[in-house]
């Protein structure tokens, strides 16, 4: 399959794939915002663009994997050679993120049309798709770029588009507006902190290129400016990634934004921020530096564990399904941070593996919720009662993804939690492994509440007719649900990608 795409791809697409994957949605976004009609043409354009980006990311994957241990593709933007020009640098780590983001974007844009027709005013739909493509482009840019300041620009591009997308949920519930402005204030603080950090690094080294930074930073141990810069970057990216005490913007934003946006953001936005965090922790700064600052053991580990416990408890007491899932997202970010904070190749690999799996399961869960919003207009657990009988296809997929979130064997969630626990035990952190298991029990409780209402409670409204979500929605939903099962049964492909990514950080990669 991959070989076939490589053979069919024209030479220019292969040579310029790192640039095309950004330029395509960047150009198509504004164009589709001004397309006439009820937004149907803009939707088709979005599907085409995301499909092409998925193909380009597969081409990049094939190129990276063509060399044993992972090649590094360096693309000089505009022909200006790095470290002075902006470099796009694709290795085994970010090709994984690129593929994840573009694949999820493709699936969500297929499933999006019915829910957008129901939730967004007709005259705003084309604009909506334009903003979506800009958001998508920004996320890809963050993943692809090799320049620290360029990363900020892409981060803000995607964030600004995201604020607009979240605010558009106000057609259904006005609470989307305060959620959007809170997200805007918090998100901008996060990005600004990141810029301050980059400024300190620039002051200390005189370079912005990440690979060059990594080299220049090697002989700056004990430099106060570098340490301050590191702290600012950690907090800034932590805010974007919804690291535990900085996650306050997330639950409301996920609860009240349009279903389409929630499904896309939950699966991609925080993941990309975590990627950026990993990139800075392990390839820009060296492990020795981080441990000198003791930030992994003293900050990331406690924050990860606190998220796993506190947010799982908060998820238990929510009455809204989307809110439960949002808190669960913060808890799952905790798992990833815990894996990353181990500082070993196995830990980072487990973290990246869980990152991919979490994107697949949360994408599926929020898509199923979107189906319910479409047919029954409710997101409270109360509204979900008895849906197992009236919408069996939607709810079976929901149940598969929920089991995967809990970590039941034969699902993706089990595989990545198993990898995480193995990595923890290998480092002798048996207490952390126990907390992972305990947090999974909490997941049983909060997902169990929803599943119980869905499958074992009588419908609240007896007139609730048998009403399934449309095919356009069920297709992508089931693709994601089956992907969860496939990875759960035979996860070698994704495990291999995650291992390569971790190897790229620890051995080759930027350095």
């Amino acid at each position: 399959m991959i070989d076939l795409i490589l053979q069919l791809a024209p030479a220019w697409a292969e040579a310029h794939a790192p640039a095309l994957i950004i330029v395509l949605p960047l150009l198509a976004g504004p164009i589709s915002a001004f397309l006439p009609g009820s937004g149907r043409i803009a939707w088709i354009m979005t599907m085409v663009v995301t499909a092409l980006c998925t193909l380009l990311s597969i081409i990049l994957l094939a190129q990276v994997r063509s060399v044993e241990g992972g090649a590094v593709i360096s693309y000089a933007m505009g022909g200006w050679a790095p470290p002075y020009g902006i470099e796009f640098r694709i290795d085994a780590l970010n090709v994984l993120v690129l593929m994840l983001v573009s694949f999820i974007a493709f699936l969500t844009s297929i499933f999006g049309w019915p829910t957008i027709r129901a939730e967004i005013n007709e005259e705003k739909r084309a604009m909506f798709f334009g903003a979506f493509q800009v958001c998508f482009m920004g996320l890809l840019g963050v993943a692809a770029t090799g320049d620290a300041f360029n990363l900020f620009v892409f981060l803000e591009l995607s964030s600004i588009a995201t604020y607009v997308l979240v605010a558009l949920g106000s057609g259904r519930d006005r609470r989307a507006l305060p959620a959007a402005i809170n997200y805007l204030l918090m998100g901008t603080i996060g990005a600004s902190f990141y810029v301050v950090g980059v400024g300190f690094l620039y002051a200390a080294t005189g370079t912005l290129n990440m690979a060059d930074l990594a080299i220049q930073l090697q002989d700056t141990s004990g430099n106060r400016a570098v340490q301050v810069g590191f702290a600012f970057i950690l907090v800034g990216l932590g805010l974007k990634a919804a690291m535990f005490p900085l996650h306050q913007w997330l639950p409301n934003a996920y609860t009240y934004s349009p279903s389409f946006v929630t499904a896309f953001l939950a699966a991609t936005a925080t993941k990309v921020a975590i990627y950026a965090l990993v990139r800075f922790l392990f390839s820009v700064f060296s492990l020795e530096f981080i441990f000198e600052g003791a930030s992994l053991a003293l900050i990331l580990t406690p924050m990860g564990i606190a998220a796993m416990l506190a947010c799982s408890f908060q998820a238990i007491f929510q009455t809204d399904v989307r809110r439960t899932l949002a808190y669960s997202s913060v808890a799952q970010v905790g798992y990833m941070l815990l894996g990353i904070s181990l500082g070993t190749a196995a830990g980072v690999s487990a973290g990246m593996f869980h990152l991919v799996n979490h994107a697949l399961m949360k994408g599926a869960l929020f898509m199923a919720v979107a189906g319910v919003v479409l047919t029954y207009q409710g997101t409270r657990i109360h509204d979900f009662a008895g849906l197992g009988r009236s919408a069996p296809w939607t709810m079976t997929a929901f149940a598969i993804a929920a089991l995967s979130l809990i970590g039941v064997p034969l699902t993706a969630g089990f595989q990545s939690k198993f990898a995480l626990v193995s990595a923890l035990l290998a480092s002798g952190w048996w207490w952390a492994a126990l907390i992972v298991v305990f947090s999974s029990v909490l997941a049983v409780v909060y997902m169990g509440r929803i599943l119980q209402a869905v499958f074992f409670k009588p419908p609240n409204n007896p007139q609730k007719r048998q009403k399934e979500a449309p095919m356009l929605l069920l297709g992508p939903l089931w693709v994601l649900a089956l992907a969860n099962l496939w990875i759960g049964i035979n996860g070698n492909f994704v495990v291999g990608l995650a291992n390569d990514a971790a190897q790229a950080l620890f051995i080759g990669g930027v350095r």
Partner: protein
């Protein structure tokens, strides 16, 4: 000690502005004031970058005089102006070019140039950051307008109260007969 503080006046100004901005952002309940705080905060970052790029005795980063040979710098009057200008620019400060973090502008003072120039890169970066900041502010203000239309207020504590009432009403609707959870 006093000298230590005075030498870093630009950094004190930046820290002061940054704190004012963050304090306004967190303490105010009025959404417009919070956005103003955000802008002040971002402005302090712009100042931070600009003061990083400054080098003592450095001039605007446009090649002139002997440095601009082959770039049209051979006009007679240009050379005359440059000679007058260069006298005070070239004198002085290559040795103590900047202090603290600012000395890192990566050898802008060397590279065989006759004059000392400020580092232009942070200026360019900040042009981008200004554009991003303006876009964020515009989106933020647009959302505030919509909040005013939907809620009739822009005080975030009043909005929170109204949302809480809605949530309680929803809960009461779902669980008839139960005591009010609040």
């Amino acid at each position: 000690m006093v000298e230590f503080i005075l030498e870093r006046g630009n950094y004190w100004a930046i820290i002061g502005l940054m704190m004012i901005g963050l304090y306004t952002l967190f303490s105010s309940t009025n959404l417009i004031k919070r956005l103003v705080g955000l802008s002040v905060f971002q402005t302090s970052i712009i100042l931070f970058y600009i003061s990083l790029s400054r080098i003592d005795g450095g001039t605007a980063p446009i090649l002139f005089g002997a440095d601009a040979k082959g770039h049209g710098g051979d006009h007679a009057e240009d050379v005359a102006a440059a000679a007058a200008h260069g006298a005070d620019a070239a004198h002085g400060v290559a040795a103590d070019a900047g202090h603290g973090v600012a000395d890192t502008a990566h050898g802008a003072a060397s590279h065989g140039l006759e004059h000392i120039y400020s580092n232009p890169l942070p200026h360019v970066l900040m042009l981008t950051a200004i554009v991003v900041g303006v876009a964020t502010l515009a989106v933020g203000l647009a959302i505030v307008v919509r909040i005013r239309e939907a809620y009739g207020t822009i005080e975030s504590d009043e909005i929170r109260e109204m949302d809480l009432e809605v949530a309680l009403a929803e809960y009461a609707h779902d669980h008839p007969g139960e005591a009010d959870p609040a």
